[in-house]
Amino acid sequence: MNGGDEGPLRRAAPALLGLGVLALWEGLVRAYAVPDYVLPGPLAVARALAADWPLLSASLLVTLEVAVLALAAAVLVGGLLAVLFAQSRWLERALFPYAVVLQVTPIVAIAPLILIWVDNVTVALLICAWIVAFFPVLSNTVLGLRSADRNLADLFRLYGATRWQVLWLLRLPSALPFFLAGLRVAGGLALIGAVVAEFVAGAGGSGSGLAFRILEASFQLRIPRMFAALALISACGIALFALLGLLQHRLLRRWHESALARER
């Protein structure tokens, strides 16, 4: 995020590299006459994307909705829990291990259970994606709340600040950079969680998200459509990551070391 004097070539480097790889891919597929059902070239994938756009875009919205809602829930629950933990060591000691258990349990293993227990498929998917996404928000925010400068805390004490003021005016702003870093990780995880849960649900024949389209296309051997759906998921993840990065930059650029322009 430290832009400024970068030349246009350096800025375009990732895109150029991507185009190069795509061209190589297309060339190899054509040179060796690889059939579409084994490995479609990028042009075939693009054609499938255009042809199936009504179907894929509807699925994209479904997946995106789950991911974004799960991220929002992760922020809400992770943030609130972190604030509670910061207020009470006792509560943290009691609850944190369970948050870790939730984090380390493979989501593929518990998704089928959640899909059985929860009737509404969207809600079940939401729960799965939330489980994956909320931990980075929680652990980063807990760390951030605890990282408030001790000398500043002394100053607040000297000025007779209340517990609420210390939280609101000192600890929460101190935690903001940590929270935002956690949010960026959680954004990608929410999408992955949504896709994984859709796979599990899709294997059971229910669903309409992108992962379901991938499964469906693989059963029907429409490999270009599979790749198109995959490309859409990647594009979504990149967009989400970039968007959260932008948010991070806007919120921190005037005061936090990570986002300050270095001119001195």
Partner: protein, 252 residues
């Protein structure tokens, strides 16, 4: 420059029965009267307990049993203190004006904006009210911290090496500024800098011995703030430096 003078500040009397940190005695038993409206400088080797004493007075460290820290007018000490540390202690997410008015905000009072602006001008930062600390240089940040300390308008001012992190000319200017703007307050100034002590303080104490107790050293006859090039100041500074060197040798 009048920034709202308050009535003369009361004195502060300290009686410390000794203080140990993790079982190691740091401060010996002593009694100390800080005279009202005067600046008392406290020097001593590193680890001699200067900052410990300051933090104890501020109430940031629990005072040992039998210790007594009382204002001469019988009022409370807590809540009548302003604090300035070696670090500027500015909140990075607040702008300069917000930082200067932090104390009032924490007390839930309506901050006196006009006074804050006058103080910002007095420390030479007019026009930078909206700047965040990251946009200011080290010396400017320390001046901002000084403005905030003065904004508090407290009778007791505790300073912990307030100017040690800035370069010599800036320090020289800040000392002059602080002396002018802090006149009439009861100030306890912890410092490493003998010249700073001799320029600013009515009384100068050196923490000596182990466990350490404050020992008074002579100061020039003229009232502070004194000129840095005054021969009497330079002579006293030399004597203080020797006393400090002895104190360091004793502590080793």
């Amino acid at each position: 420059m009048d920034c709202g003078r308050s009535p003369p500040s009361p004195g502060l009397s300290l009686r410390i029965p000794g203080f140990a940190f993790a079982g190691v005695p740091v401060l010996g038993a002593f009694a100390l009267e800080l005279r009202g409206g005067e600046t008392t400088a406290l020097l001593g080797p590193s680890g001699s307990g200067k900052s410990t004493l300051l933090r104890m007075v501020a109430g940031l460290l629990p005072a040992p049993a039998g210790a007594r820290i009382a204002a001469a007018d019988g009022g409370p000490v807590a809540g009548r203190l302003a604090w300035m540390a070696q670090q500027d202690l500015l909140l990075p997410w607040l702008d300069l004006l917000g930082n200067v008015m932090l104390g009032a905000r924490l007390r839930g009072e309506a901050p006196d904006r006009a006074r804050a602006l006058r103080l910002i001008e007095a420390v030479g930062l007019a026009g930078r009210e909206r700047a965040r600390p990251a946009e200011l240089s080290g010396g400017m940040r320390q001046r901002a911290a000084l403005a905030r300390t003065l904004m508090e308008d407290r009778p007791f001012v505790l300073m912990d090496e307030p100017f040690s992190a800035v370069d010599a000319p800036t320090r020289h200017r800040l000392q002059g500024l602080a002396a002018r703007l802090l006149a009439g307050r009861t100030v306890l100034l912890v410092t490493h800098d003998p010249l700073e002590a001799m320029r600013l303080a009515h009384r100068v104490l050196v923490l000596r011995g182990s466990p350490a107790v404050p020992v008074e050293v002579p100061v020039p006859a003229a009232a502070p703030p004194r000129e840095a090039h005054d021969v009497a100041v330079l002579t006293a500074q030399g004597a203080l430096l020797e006393s400090l060197a002895e104190a360091t040798a004793e502590a080793a």
